[in-house]
Amino acid sequence: MVVFDTSVLLLALDPSTKPPLDPATNAAVFRAGERIEHLIDTLSADKKTIIIPTPV
């Protein structure tokens, strides 16, 4: 099982969403849209269950 928090969920629904800041660099997460697409493909291939806690 994988839990999507709000920032990941927004990017999953719209990869052009402004990415969150990386706490390590204080800059926007690098290539966030491409990374989220890769994550979705990987989770999809592995047939993982996605948990979305509510309220987000």
């Binding site: 709000t6 927004l10 629904l13 979705i40």
Partner: protein, 248 residues
Amino acid sequence: MTKTYTLHIDAYSPETIPMARLAEYMQSMATMLGHENGVHFDGLKEGSTQLVGRIDHEQVPKVGAGLDALTRGEGQPDAVKAQEAINRLLANDNASGYLYEDNDQGAKIIAFPGVTRPRPVQYGPIRQEGTLDGILVSVGGADRTAHIRLQHGDMKYSNIDTDRDTARRLGKYLFEPVRVFGIGSWLREDDGTSTLKRFKVDSFEALKADDLRDVLEELRRVEGSEWAMQGDALAVLRSLRDEGNGPH
């Protein structure tokens, strides 16, 4: 030079301890010390019951290291189980105990709280509306209440009841993913986990086994979302939360 470790059992005496009970303590103590070929029974001493184990010279460092690891909470699984077993034996004997080195009873290497250890705390049952997801693996029951079972990965949910009409409709989805709605009774264990005691199903829905990619593509095509128009959607979301007087 050999070394001894003594298990002080605050119960019985060498004359009164049942042989079978003594054997259980000996077995657990031997497992806890490990290195069985180098650990020997060295007798019983007076003063409640004191079970003495003698360690061969060559094995002294290894046994000592194993006990050190145990006190740090990093012991070998067998040793940890044996330590717990000694605690259980002592608790059942309404006693506590400790392990000490050589003849120094003041140097308690390991304390066994036994009967004084905190008892597990369990809360509940707590009744709460909710849902359970899983593959429907069983529907049955000869009485008016039907019983179903769900499997979700390694987790199996039993103690799920419903009425016959719902069970009949559910039966069409045997070995398929479903979500059941109803009221559950949960026990909260002392380690923070929840155990399902009973779940009464009011309704259900069949879950689709759609591919995540396909689902997201479908959601992305839904019109009317304004998130894409926000310059900083996360900031907007945060401000919405703050308007609600802080975190949810």
